[in-house]
């Protein structure tokens, strides 16, 4: 069961965008953003939720099952140049407390296990 994950609506793009923006800009958390609706992505989001820690700890997961709906919000994000290519078709990325993208799990990477997801969190938190 996902306890620290917000699943964005798939039938209302403006609402999904609004919710996504709010989570990014209003909440002081490290955000793990899962993109897609495959079984693999579902598994990844489950792991990320578990690694989001205990209640009240500053990690949160957003799951955009239809990434195209929130692409305009993603395009607004501050992405370092070295992560630019990996963000194309990424399966997930993390945002730090200042809403900057700090890691991206690219489509060419193996299925992300717990350590890969924890690395994404750690990269966002070390900054």
């Amino acid at each position: 069961m996902l306890v620290k994950t917000t699943i964005l609506p798939t039938d209302d793009p403006p609402l999904a965008q609004q919710m996504f923006r709010d989570l990014i800009h209003q909440e002081a958390v490290v955000l793990f953003v899962g993109l897609g609706a495959t079984e693999e992505i579902e598994k990844m989001v489950g792991r990320a939720d578990k690694l989001a820690g205990l209640e009240g700890e500053p990690r949160w997961v957003v799951w955009a099952r239809k990434p195209g709906h929130v692409q305009p919000v993603i395009d607004e994000l501050d992405v370092p140049a070295e992560l630019g290519p990996r963000m194309q078709g990424a399966r997930a990325f993390t945002l730090n407390f200042d809403d900057k993208v700090r890691d991206a799990i690219g489509s060419d990477e193996p299925e992300p296990g717990m350590t890969r997801i924890l690395l994404a969190y750690a990269r966002a938190e070390e900054d």
């Binding site: 306890v3 002081a28 792991r47 578990k50 690694l51 820690g53 205990l54 009240g56 700890e57 500053p58 990690r59 407390f97 193996p110 296990g113 717990m114 350590t115 890969r116 924890l118 690395l119 969190y121 750690a122 990269r123 938190e125 070390e126 900054d127």
Partner: protein
């Protein structure tokens, strides 16, 4: 023209960079590295061929990665484990206070929650997260796709939902556990393969190699601490002798008889050696001629050994007679320049000591063969005089002659600023431990002051040898570090000065040879860590015994002096003749004035109080 020059300069720079790169990579491959800690509190890395101060301590650090790589071969399971383990060890060393940071994070999160997650507490949480996350990110980034990451994946999957701090703590704990497991497996495999390491340290002087204590690697005791005095102005006995030799030499020079004092001294010493050797040589020859006549019917090996001993003894006698003719009272001793004289005499001494060694070895062979051949009563009766012959006292005398000759030969080279290089392979003593690789100390120390008496130019050599079952031991490192007086110190240089009175203060220019000595400050302002002492400069005070008015009454000259080149070989300065009241300019030479028959002493040393 310019472009060609530019190309050459670029080629030189590329060459230098290549050499520097090679040197760096060579250093990276060293199993143990050395850092000098000197008496003034400075530390600096030292590589093979480097120079350290004669009173320093060498801190030795073992590069565990290289140790296993070089001693465990390249293809076996020990090496495979080493390849897996070493990156983890580097990570562990690099993460620093990882566990402490996790504890801080835990405290910060608890305090923040207790304060109702207020803004003030948030600042502390963010700082603690940053500190804890940084090493975790390093570890996870470096281990993606490795067996370690797979095991950690599994552990995190199986664990219940935990706090961020606990997740990070698990990463550190898993890394430690992985390292412990791999280390234990590797050490066990290395033990089963019989891999061991021996490391020994020696102080290599001109004439001897003394094994010295390398902490953790041997059972040698440390000696009493002996610090080579840095601030000394009193002349040692050796320097007083040199000064007396300088007086004689300057008198000879002023009389125009260059080289005679050296030649006379050497000739006297050689005659003394020959006087020692002569009775033994004669008695050997006499006895051997008797044996030759007696053993005509005996076994062939004895006959050959007698003839061989006779030939070697005859050669020694001929050599001795030739030298006596050359260096006798009315001999043909050359009286040319000191260098030719000393090099010539060195050759003569090498010939003499070589002949002595051959004769003694031939006689020892003869005795051994006679003992082996006397297996029945008849043969024992034939060989009885030979078996009863006891030339031991005489061979001891000849061994002393050989030793004295070798000492004199070394002095000839030493007087020319040359030094006998002792490069023979050192063998480990029984007190050097054969250590399992797991027990090799990571840090060790070589305390040079606890090596006993030593002299500038001596070398500290460290040899590492790895062995494994059924394979001959092989050296994995030999490091030689030369001892010099590098830190600021006073040095006394005895020699001659050639003084020329200031013509403006004296009607006639005077140029005179005089014995003198200088007290020089060395190692200041610049320290010379170079192997060569070519530019080892010093500045100080020069005191000379002048006689400007040729009345045979000595006049004290005091001057400032600048010294340099090869152990104060050249000095220049400006002084003042106190009695005559005349200033003078001078240059000085530390001429080769060996003292044949007396061993050159080690550097002046005093026990530490």
């Amino acid at each position: 023209m310019c472009s060609r020059l530019c190309l050459r300069i670029v080629a030189c720079l590329v060459g230098l960079l290549t050499i520097a790169g090679a040197s760096l990579s060579a250093r990276a491959r060293e199993v143990v590295t050395f850092t000098e800690a000197d008496l003034d509190g400075h530390t600096r890395p030292v590589a093979d061929g480097g120079v350290v101060d004669i009173n320093s301590t060498l801190n030795v650090r073992t590069n565990v990665e290289e140790l296993y790589r070089q001693s465990g071969g390249t293809t076996d399971s020990v090496s495979v484990l080493t390849v897996l383990l070493n990156p983890l060890l580097k990570l562990q060393a690099g993460v620093g206070a990882g566990a402490a940071n996790v504890a801080s994070l835990q405290e910060a999160l608890a305090a923040w929650a207790a304060a109702g997650r207020d803004t003030l507490g948030w600042v502390g949480v963010r700082g603690a997260l940053r500190k804890a996350a940084e090493p975790v990110a390093k570890i996870l980034a470096a281990t993606q796709g490795t067996p370690f990451a797979a095991r950690l994946d599994q552990a995190l999957d199986l664990a219940p939902r935990t706090s961020i701090a606990e997740q990070y703590a698990l990463v550190f704990a898993s890394l430690d556990a992985e390292i412990a497991t791999l280390t234990a497996r590797r050490d066990q495999l290395a033990k089963e393969a019989g891999i061991s390491l021996r490391a020994g340290a020696w102080l290599r002087g001109e004439t001897s190699d003394v094994p010295v204590h390398l902490e953790g690697f041997d059972r040698y005791p440390e000696r009493d601490e002996v610090v080579v005095t840095r601030w000394r102005i009193a002349l040692t006995e050796e320097e007083r002798r040199q000064l007396r030799a300088s007086v004689r030499f300057s008198q000879a020079l002023n009389q125009g008889d260059l080289g005679r004092p050296l030649a006379d001294g050497f000739a006297t010493a050689v005659r003394h050696l020959l006087d020692l050797a002569e009775p033994c040589t004669a008695s050997f020859q006499e006895a051997l001629v008797g044996f030759r006549n007696r053993v005509g019917q005996s076994a062939e090996p004895v006959k050959s050994a007698v003839l061989n001993a006779l030939e070697k003894t005859q050669r020694l006698r001929t050599s001795a007679l030739e030298l006596r003719a050359k260096y006798g009272e009315r001999g043909t001793t050359p009286s040319s320049d000191p260098e030719s004289l000393l090099l010539g005499t060195n050759d003569d001494l090498v010939t003499l000591t070589g002949s002595v060694g051959e004769a003694v070895a031939a006689i020892q062979d003869l005795k051994r063969i006679a003992r082996q051949t006397a297996t029945n009563a008849t043969m024992s009766a034939v060989l009885k005089p030979l078996l009863d012959w006891a030339p031991d006292d005489c061979t001891t005398s000849l061994a002393n002659v050989q030793q004295s000759g070798q000492d004199m030969a070394r002095q000839c080279l030493g007087a020319l600023g040359l030094r006998h290089r002792n490069n023979s392979l050192l063998t480990f003593g029984e007190d050097v431990l054969a250590l399992d690789l797991a027990n090799v100390p990571v840090e060790s120390t070589v305390r040079i002051p606890r090596m006993g008496p030593r002299a500038p130019g001596d070398v500290v050599e460290v040899r590492l040898s790895a062995a494994r079952a059924n394979v001959s031991p092989h050296d994995i490192q030999r490091t030689r570090i030369t001892l010099r007086r590098v830190l600021p110190h006073l040095e006394i240089a005895v020699g001659l000065v050639f003084a020329r009175a200031d013509s403006s203060a004296r009607p006639r220019s005077v140029f005179q040879t005089a014995p003198a000595y200088s007290i020089l400050i060395k190692g200041w302002p610049m320290r010379n860590y170079h192997h060569s002492n070519l530019l080892d400069c010093g500045v100080g005070l020069n005191l000379a015994a002048l006689d400007f008015n040729h009345d045979d009454s000595q006049e004290l000259g005091i001057g400032v002096v600048l010294s340099g080149l090869l152990e104060n070989l050249m000095q220049v300065g400006y002084g003042y003749n106190v009695k005559a009241g005349v200033p003078y300019a001078f240059f000085g030479l530390r001429l080769p004035l060996p003292d044949f028959g007396i061993n050159r002493p080690k550097a002046e040393a005093s026990p530490v109080e």
